[in-house]
Amino acid sequence: MADGRVVGIDLGTTNSLVAYMQGEAPVVIPGVDGSNLVPSVVALDPAPKDGARPTVTVGNSARRALIETPERVIYSVKRLMGRGLDEVQKELKLFPFRLADDVQAGEVPRIQLGELRFTPPEISAYILRQLKRNAERFFGEPVTQAVITVPAYFNDAQRQATKDAGRMAGLEVLRLVNEPTAAALAYGLDRAKEGTIAVYDLGGGTFDISILKLRDGIFEVQSTNGDTHLGGDDIDNLLLAIALDEIHAEHGVNLREHPSAVQAVRKAAIDAKILLSTAQSAQFDIELPNGDRYQREIPREVYEQLIEQVLNRTTGPCKQAMTDAGVTPEQIDEVVLVGGSTRIPAVRQLVDELFHLSARGKKPHIELNPDEVVALGAAVQADILAGASKATEELLLLDVTPLSLGIEALGGVVARIIQRNSTIPASATEHFTTGVDGQTNVAIHVVQGERELAADCRSLARFDLKGIPPMTAGLPRIEVKFLIDADGILQVSAREQRSGKQAQIEVKPTYGLTDEQVETMILDSFDNAEADFAKRLLIEGRNEAESILAKVEQAKTSTAWAALTIAEKDAIAAAEKHLAAVKASDDLAVIREATVALDRATQRLAELMMDAAVTTAIRGKTMGDAGDELGEGPSAPHPMAPAEFK
């Protein structure tokens, strides 16, 4: 294909993936370490002594850096995308990171990472660049076009921020696809079915429900609903709160005063949660700073009573989505489960009841890995956009806008111009006039949401219509066209009808970067030069080799190293020696193979180091100054959650 490949990317809260269409089936592209999931964690390497800009690492290696330099690591940045200063401040109470201290109201908040500052789209861009590189490595050719998935309930600003991140990473984002819709595509591919499908998507931080009608290869979304602050994190927090309260009551130790210990208990809570999806009970067994042990058994029954309130919050959106689609549970032919949290048996039970499944002899679809299904669907959509493929030529996705679009009218009331669940692209034309003689400007405030007052909706942008010819009040007739494009992003154009002049519009997005700002944040402009491509891959391969060698060397001074067996140490030494010998060669494949071998050999070492850090944290010894800044809160997600579990 002359235009090159289009890849599908799932840019997740906890993990990200890149996939492509291999013939007739979508396939996830593994990273250099062989893992399909790239943890959505970004770390800034230690600052070089020569004052050069420190390099950025992404994924599993960044996760490891969390132990040594937590003040230089950021995770779950998706929660900050497209958000304003006040929202980020609220959200950051739950995170160990800090806002840059020079952030002004009205600008996109920047996060302090080591000595540098980054906006959330920049952090996401690093993750995207890593995925892009993984794909380039895999294909041996440049990848410049992608489809990226977003939660269906993402608003305009969150979508725009995601697109900006793509541009900064050197990717032309051909389409943003809603995650549940992508999942439906992944499932719908191998079954030429007709009918109504519900996609229930409960991830780490967000919940989406979408109802689709499938017919002749057309996936027509009927309605969507959700909650951008509901997911597995909320369950972790419940377990965490119980453990902390009990430790305080029974042992007189208030771990809440030791934020790093809180993070360690959280890891135990996450482990317990995951175990409880298969086992009938799980245990907390934590050594406390005063030498006591906190031991607690959590039977499945107790756990399920506990999480009921969280899971029940998905009920309302599901019912509303069915009402909006005009269907009853009996009319839903298939239910697809997406997101890691749908592994919880109680979630499956709830879904069964909501859609009357077992009563009708039906089961939800769980055949595809819930962590991968969204990326697979994105790859299908990428193939549709690339065109000229037999596998997808009959497929077409018709999605909807999740939130109503309105303009602020007199008295702060919202006049709705595009209703939620309208098929996109969708448009509305409105007319405006002046209120004062000779007036040449008209201000328009656009909001998104279902509430009646503009103040209760989310402000999207303020538009200033300028250059209106001076006329008697009420005489100018300015036609403004609002158009929501196929990505769910608003476009506006205006025309003064009496003079026929194209009115100038000055857009002030309430939350977001300007085009010029995005331009300055593009990561490496040379990234796409095809001539340098092979050279670049080789340099990257060598850098990766150097970086892992340095990390292994450093790890040898840790207590974890002492815990390894002789055989393990020998295996590491052999892999190290081999990599050191080949790292300067010109054969990329050989360097890469040796890098992967060393990474595999040190897997247990990395795990031991993580465990050691956790134990240290619980005992109250700080992991360094930054340990004290680790946050604690009702819904802080945890980067130490396993990146992959089957």
Binding site: Q381, G387, L398, V413, P425, S427, A486
Partner: protein
């Protein structure tokens, strides 16, 4: 206001320069996508304005056109083709959304024929007493009292089961009245579609009144639902 297309103005295809009708989405000669036509929603589907529509056919046509027009089909086309695909698809979607819904379709067609149709009310407690349909005057008066009582009870943190029940009953009744209006509307459709000019005029007048009544009922139902659900 919506633009009514009065005559077919010939324009030329941007790609093959063959002249074609302004209302076409594709060039009949070279099949290339064209800039959005200034046509009404019916002609997007190649239909004459009618109220009785075969919804199955409409959906079929919608899917067929979507396959050809959707931006997904133009991801790698020229910038202008991308823009036209976006604008054409928005027009198609707006048209389908309007025509598949019986109420929106009726409102749209009547507006197309110059009827003045009021806008939806926004905001609570905005029931305008001067617009109350005469036969509902007494009930609306009672309902407003009950709604006020309910809101006050809510604010005081009390629960009045009898009042709630009575409001549920009222909602049910207004829902039924809405259904009745829709039946009456549908009864006028054929008169409009097949009648002569006089019959059309009469049907139009009746329908405008019915739509006003329906909008009024709709606001009532929404107020009750909101108050009950608050």
């Amino acid at each position: 206001m919506l633009k009514v297309i009065d005559s077919a103005v010939p324009v030329a295809c941007w790609s093959c320069s063959v002249a074609h009708n302004e209302s076409t989405l594709f060039c009949p000669h070279c099949s290339k996508i064209q800039p959005p036509p200034g046509s009404d929603y019916f002609s997007v589907f190649g239909l004459v304005p009618r109220l009785n529509l075969d919804l199955g056919m409409l959906e079929h046509q919608f899917h067929k056109l979507s396959r050809k027009l959707h931006p997904d089909r133009f991801a790698r086309a020229s910038e202008s083709e991308k823009d036209w695909s976006l604008a054409d698809t928005a027009l198609l979607n707006d048209a389908y959304r309007t025509l598949k819904d019986p109420i929106r379709r009726t409102e749209y067609l009547l507006k197309l024929h110059g009827a003045e149709i009021g806008e939806e009310h926004a905001g609570k407690g905005r029931i305008d007493p001067s617009r109350v349909p005469a036969d509902l005057l007494e009930e609306v008066f009672d309902l407003n009292m009950q709604l006020e009582e309910m809101r006050m009870a809510r604010e005081a943190g009390e629960k009045d089961a009898a009042l709630e029940e009575s409001l549920q009953q009222a909602k049910k009744k207004f829902d039924e009245l809405m259904d009745e209006v829709e039946r009456d509307l549908r009864a006028q459709w054929t008169a409009w579609d097949d009648g002569d000019e006089a019959a059309r005029g009469a049907a139009q007048k009746t329908m405008v009144a019915l739509l006003d009544r329906r909008r009024y009922l709709n606001n009532l139902v929404r107020d009750v639902t909101e108050t009950l659900g608050a």
